[in-house]
């Protein structure tokens, strides 16, 4: 609990930061409580829904299952770092334009996964999109629109 604490440093959305953390705390909690970043949010708390997705050293992870202590020395990117000032990323634009969300709770996770997918594979097939995103759940059931959003984001990134 509150007993064991340590200080970690890492790069968060392009800035070098430090945080005093409890060794039991997961990364979601530290991003929220120490940095006020709520885009990665806990829902299932068991690595099953993807609402808490962040990129650690460029790899998407479920931050609810990542101990914050392991983030020491890493580079972390969250949904809050994706837009360039007021300019939304192509993935964000595509999600708005295709209406790929309802409540929006799952949306940051899906958008980060979309970005990572398109970084690796700029022209994924629908089957590849579905495979790649299948670890993320949307209770509002916006799946059809999400697949469309990924396709549109791919086009936007090429343009």
């Amino acid at each position: 609990m509150s007993g064991h604490r340590r200080t970690i440093t890492f790069t968060l959305n392009g800035r070098d930061v430090a945080a005093d953390i409890g060794v039991h705390q997961n990364l979601t909690e530290v991003l929220q409580e120490s940095f006020g970043l709520f885009g990665a949010r806990e829902s299932c708390g068991q690595g099953l829904c993807g609402c808490c997705t962040v990129l650690v050293d460029g790899q998407a992870v479920t931050s609810c299952l990542s101990l914050a202590a392991f983030a020491d020395g890493s580079t972390i990117d969250t949904i809050e770092g994706l837009a360039d000032g007021d300019t939304l990323s192509p993935e964000q634009e595509a999600f708005i334009e295709t209406g790929a969300f309802q409540c929006g709770y799952c949306t940051p996770g899906f958008i980060l996964m979309t970005k990572q997918l398109l970084d690796e594979n700029p022209e994924p097939s629908d089957e590849e999109i579905m495979h790649y995103l299948s670890g993320n759940l949307c209770r509002c059931g916006a799946y059809a629109e999400i697949v469309k959003a990924v396709r549109l984001a791919g086009q936007k990134r090429k343009a």
Binding site: G22, F38, L48, E97, F101, T107, S134, R139, C140, V147
Partner: protein, 761 residues
Amino acid sequence: MTGGSTTTVGHSFPRMEGRAKVTGQADYIYNMRLPSMLHAKVHRSPISHGRIRSINTAAAAAMPGVHQVITGEDVKAVLPEPYYGPAFHDQPILALEKVRHFGEPVAVVLAPDPHVAETAAQRIVVDYEELPAVFDEVEALTSEAIVHEELKPAGTFADLKHLSGKRDTNIALDFHLNHGDADKAFAEAAHVFEHTFRTQQTMHTPFEPMVALADVRNDRAEIFSSTQSPSFVRFELSRLLGWPESNVRVKTSHLGGGFGAKVYVKVEALAMALSLIAHRPVRVAQTMEEQFYTITKHPNTFRIRSAVDGDGRITGRKCEVWWNGGAYADIGPRVTQKSGFTAAGPYDIDNIDIDSFALYTNRPPAGALRGFGIPQLVWAYESHTDIIASELGLDPVDFRKRNILRNGRPQAVGTIVEDGEFEAVLDGVAQRLGWNRPFDKGSGTKRRGRGVAIGFKASISPTTSSAIVSVNADGSVIVYCSTVDMGQGSDTAMAQIAAEVLDVPLDLIRVVNPDTDVTPYDMSTLGSRSTFHMGHAVQLAATDARDKLRAMADEVGLPEGSNAPLPELFIKKFGMRAGTVVGAANYKPDYAPPNYETGQSPNATPFWMIGAAGAEVEVDTETGQFRILRLVNVCDIGKPINPEVVETQISGAAVMQLGFTLTETMIIENGQLTNPSLADYKIPGLFDMPDVMENGFIEAEQHNGPFGAKGAGESGTFGVSPAIANAIADAVGVRITEMPITAEAIFRALREKAGRPLEDV
């Protein structure tokens, strides 16, 4: 009230809060923190029914970092009658004397650190005297186990008063409807059919779990909650506190899903009581697991009988429905009644008897879940309809059309149907499926089939919505209403309505998040009522503001029809950019309550929601595994305010119902829920989608609706489950009567049909 051509309404604008949602900035209550707040962690009952002998909180209280441990008796010391509920005041804030379901909140630990509170909550020791429990709705009718010794209806619903003080029964409410002479119809029938269908217990699993923060001090209670019902929460908490409603403020935000889970009071009463006791702000935030213990969807058993004449006309129908309401009534009695009266289906049947019972059991409470009982009913009556068609050798679509309800005819409740496009919706599905074209039924071990189903729902009546529309001196507009946007896009729809009436561009409109200090009364965001009820209120309030602006233009001497920009008008009137013009309105549609004896009402609902589905499946006869090749959903939603948002409502509803149809089920073994986690309670993912899915609505208009619109949030759920069951029956000739429809159930049925039944495990 419908305009000819519109500039904003009827167009697909993106959601107003889209940018906040894609940047992670959306302001859910789950993300909210208050200075110096305490975290609450709940200790829950491990048993389903028992008397509390003692609660030992010493070890928990002694843990370093624990602020306080609170039990039901502590709550009772500050709130003498700590029971709440919309229909019955039967639910204690924390258990008192008895626990009535597994997972019931028994005690709470408060601590500044949530991890400390969680660990300490596990150190509370409760001694129970276990009592016999009942889990099945039919057994509850006659069981020895009595969940509540005495019924305690809330005063809010006049038609529940006769239940007051009733003892030693698990029947929370019985609803009866008689239309025509069903006995006579059955005596004279050429064919009589009887079947029984069942549905399972499921949960909404909103991704933002239920959460409330409370700050109670100096005769003032501030509640921040992920609620669909801010006005009701204010009403109920002020009742518990004995304070005027103006001393209670309930504020909400965008919700990370609701689906009915967050209606009425959920965690708000507990948060309020804890803050009242601790004199500190308190946050009660559930985990995904805890949601399963809080509110669920009613399982039910439905025995349906039909009398059919020689021409394939249904002449009589008898429906008996038993609703498993769990340990606390919540809004179950309303499900029993409001949904009960549509139990005979969207057919023109002269003679109908309906008996619908709300039962208490020792399961977690059941309440509203997207469809409010309707999907459970459609499951039964549309499966039954297909069995009849098949036994009479009639085409399932033709048989339905022969009997379908039409405008100008009375529904079972006695209300004449208006603006209910049942046949067009059914035709819409049949057409998209290509029903009249030849269909490849597969061969060998892969057999294909297709099926349709149609359901309907009345709106919840009589209910009121109020709205304020204020016009600022620069011509921008603020809409104040207590409709909660939980993803259905209501903010955007309300803004479109205000923009249309005031002829102001959409980006000059702001919709305020519900805050009972600021936004006026609304019954609740539920039952697909907002577009119709709040849509009306916003339209009327905006019209009121527009009339005042016109009067102001007259006053300052602008010629009639002068299109002076709004900022100029304000400067002319106030000499500078100053002043506000405020329009306000209440809206409540007409309604006539049903007669208690017959269940008949000349005006039971302001509109009907209609949804049909068509499915094509492929079944592997060796394993029972099946695939949904195609799922089509068509609804009558009147004229859409925002067509694209409406379409996502229809598809989202269908996807959710797909989960309830195929995979979702709360498994209770030995009085324990074995799967309160997304790991074992399987909601639909990307690979659970049908190969092809089409969603749409027919051209229609709700003449008494705002700009011709009506509700659309639930209609997509109605037909999904029976359409799939009917398609499976068409493919392999077996009938599944109990949800969920699993490969195992199909395999068992196939083996049974082949005369080689599997042993039960």
